[in-house]
């Protein structure tokens, strides 16, 4: 029998979920995602791919910031390392894509050690500034290492084929991004229930207490950087596959800000929250565009060029309102709704 609070077997304590309903809905979602290319337009699929890449990036950042408490503004830097490693290997050395994508992750992981080491002595805003500086350094290296990175001219990323399919557009790219997002999601969910995950949470909650309990701060902080950056590098590699052109402008600071916004908006520390936040913020501009286009009596035409600014303001206002009234983010809203549903008519 399943209860709300009690577990009958030890295995239930570490299961992802012991609810058949949850597994049933998860399966239904997976089937829907698998069938999406059959019903969604090419544009819809492009947005879905962008959202899936954002999910990979947000879950990765959640490992570092949400689970370990290390604030990073260097996401754009790690993304560009992954993207350039993937792009250079594919375009210049014609390495198969099944090697270049993990290589993108590995390159970002390796580079993350450079930032990870100072993080052992820094935290909070000091670490945020350090990671931000790292992103600038990466930017400079890309611009000046012209023989390798093609410098300011950027790089066209072509020739990615997997099982005979061109995985740079359409359904093949979608399935690749979906597979990567699912792999990242399950890897992170599993990690968070292991000794490593619990050590990260202990460090986040109180690093001195964690050390007193025997947690090796050096090891676990570096591990958080390396694993998080690996997934961010994968996201960068996927980004380069979708865009097919990369240069430093593609990896601007706003990407780091958007990644932070995703995990806060979704619910800091929660893998599901990071996923929800990334999906929501990826589709919000499109939802706003469609809403404004549907304004009655030609409202959008009346607004003229101001419609773009108003949409931008609406984007910000929605984020502010959600965080003001639901500081736990989307995942908090979801938990409230679930409680309300299961406990109705009792007060929640």
């Amino acid at each position: 029998m399943r209860t709300g609070h009690f577990r009958e077997k030890p295995g239930q304590l570490i299961a992802l979920s012991d609810s058949r309903t949850v597994w049933g809905w998860t399966l239904a979602l997976l089937v829907a995602l698998a069938l999406a290319p059959l019903v969604i337009s090419a544009y819809g699929l492009t947005l879905m791919v962008a959202a899936l890449i954002a999910v990979v990036g947000a879950i990765a950042l959640n490992i570092l910031t949400g689970q370990t408490g290390l604030i990073s503004l260097g996401q754009a830097g790690f993304l560009s390392v992954g993207a350039y490693a993937n792009g250079i290997l594919l375009a210049d050395y014609h390495v198969p894509v099944w090697i270049t994508i993990p290589a993108g992750g590995a390159a970002a992981s390796l580079v993350s050690l450079l930032v990870g080491v100072p993080s052992l002595r820094l935290k909070g805003l000091y670490l945020a500034i350090t990671t931000l500086a790292f992103a600038f350094i990466v930017n400079h290296v890309i611009l000046y290492a012209e023989p390798v990175t093609h410098g300011p001219n950027g790089l066209f990323v072509n020739g990615a084929r997997l099982f005979g399919f061109n995985v740079q557009k359409g359904p093949p790219l979608y399935y690749l991004a979906l597979a990567m997002a699912l792999a990242t999601l399950f890897a992170t969910l599993n990690l968070s229930r292991t000794r490593i995950g619990r050590a990260w949470m202990a460090i986040r909650d109180h690093d001195i207490a964690a050390r007193a309990m025997g947690i090796d701060l050096v090891r676990y902080k570096l591990l958080a950087f390396v694993i998080s950056s690996f997934f961010v590098g994968i996201a960068g590699a996927l980004m380069s596959l979708q865009l097919r052109f990369i240069n430093v402008d593609v990896f601007a600071l706003n990407l780091s800000i958007e990644a932070i916004a995703s995990i806060i908006f979704g619910g800091l520390g929660s893998v599901a929250g990071a996923t929800l936040g990334a999906v929501f913020l990826s589709f919000l501009p499109e939802a706003l565009r469609l809403s404004f286009a549907a304004l009655p009596f030609g409202g959008a035409d009346l607004l003229g060029n101001n419609v773009y600014e108003i949409r931008g303001i609406a984007y910000g206002v929605i984020i502010v309102l959600v965080l003001r009234f639901k500081p736990d983010g989307l995942i908090g809203m979801w938990r409230d709704a679930r409680k309300y549903w299961s406990q109705w008519p009792l007060a929640y």
């Binding site: 962008a50 001219n153 865009l243 402008d249």
Partner: protein
């Protein structure tokens, strides 16, 4: 009988194929896309550009459209972010089914859109960021209108040299990207050719706003001719810093400084700075354009006409001209062929005539040099359009 039926079926198929128009063309409309910077700090560029498309479309439609079809421009905002340009063009192609593309935002943005442009064989006229990356290598459906930054800077420095450069060194301050690289190429060419005494060659990151250290170096080196590679507020800050140090300089700038908003930012420094441009900034052609535009846009919009309005207008007029040459059976292939054969298309004096009948499919490479008169708060033409 079977042969007859097969022949009829084949004929139907062939005629059907012949009538099947490319996306974006109906019996009554032709849709052209425009991806632009409509939000963010550089929004005035996109808004100026969008205005040009609006004026061109209105003028063309008032004259009967393109062989009876109304020209419709659909604008999408990219906020100057390359990944959003990619998404915006995907939307224009997949949802709006545009026939051709006129607005292409910045250099990195157009490069991010390039795979989609080539995949869809989309007739595209690039007028906003005519960097050499766009036409090197040549893409069959892409036509570039505009000079490169190297020529623009060379033209200004040549003018300064020919008309008496002040004694002292020449210095350059430029962004550390593809755009800055082109600026430096023009500076290098001019300084070598004219045997200038070389001052500092400094680079900065896009978005930098404090140039006190850089300008102090320039002052220390005795720079009197400055190639100012900053754009918008950056260029204004460089000049403001030079004024703070009381430097006596002749300044050459980027064509983005030729728009009223930029000039207003730079004016307080008090330098009669120069710009070079491939479209006319002042003169009878501009007056005529504004008089024509008056009937299609509001007074507020009229006041916002800038060089970006002219380049967009020229781009769409060129595209529309090529489309009209295709007659009723409008296809992308035909439009590209007509663009490729375009020779001396008159822009009413807003630029040198447009010709794409060259291997690079590149036109508008001639530039004119202009100088901002701080007292009169207006630009004056120093040279006509010339090839450099």
């Amino acid at each position: 009988m079977r042969t007859l039926l097969a022949s009829c079926a084949a004929l139907l198929l062939v005629s059907g194929a012949a009538r099947a128009a490319d996306p974006g063309v109906t019996d009554t409309e032709v849709e052209v896309g425009d991806v632009n910077i409509m939000t963010g700090p550089a929004a005035f560029v996109g808004k100026g550009f969008s205005l040009g498309s609006k004026i061109a479309a209105a003028e063309i439609n008032a004259a009967g459209g393109i062989n009876g079809r109304k020209l419709v421009v659909i604008t999408e905002d990219d906020g100057y972010i390359p990944s959003r340009s990619f998404q915006a063009l995907t939307k224009l192609i997949e949802v709006d089914h545009i026939f051709a593309l006129n607005g292409t935002s910045g250099t990195a943005n157009v490069m991010a859109m390039m795979p989609l442009i080539t995949d869809n064989n989309l007739p595209t006229v690039v007028t906003e960021a005519p960097a050499s990356l766009v036409y090197n290598p040549v893409r069959p459906s892409v036509f570039t209108f505009g000079a490169n930054y190297a020529d623009a800077f060379y033209a200004q420095l040549k003018y300064i040299h020919d008309h008496g450069a002040k004694d002292g060194a020449w210095g350059i301050i430029r962004q550390d990207d593809d755009f800055g690289k082109e600026v430096e190429q023009g500076f290098d060419r001019a300084s070598k050719e004219f045997g200038a005494k070389m001052g500092p060659a400094l680079r900065f990151k896009k978005g930098t706003s404090n140039f006190s250290a850089e300008l102090a170096q320039m002052k220390e080196a005795g720079v009197t001719v400055l190639a100012n590679g900053g754009i918008f507020a950056g260029a204004a800050n460089i000049l403001a810093e030079a004024r703070k140090l009381d430097m006596d300089i002749q300044s050459a700038g980027v064509w983005s400084e030729g728009i009223p908003a930029s000039a207003r930012l730079s004016a307080p420094a008090g330098y009669d700075f120069m710009v070079a441009d491939y479209v006319s900034l002042v003169g009878p052609a501009n007056d005529k354009f504004k008089a024509m535009a008056k009937q299609f846009v509001s007074d507020d919009e009229l006041a916002n006409i800038s060089r970006y309005t002219y380049v967009s207008y020229i781009g769409l007029k060129t595209l529309a001209h090529a489309m009209s040459l295709c007659g009723k059976d409008l296809t992308r292939a035909c439009t590209i062929e007509k663009l490729r054969g375009l020779k001396d298309f008159d822009t009413g004096g807003l630029s040198a005539p447009v010709s794409f009948d060259n291997p690079r499919q590149l036109s508008g490479t001639a530039v004119g040099v202009y100088q901002y008169d701080v007292k009169a708060k207006a630009f004056k033409a120093l040279t006509g359009f010339q090839q450099y």
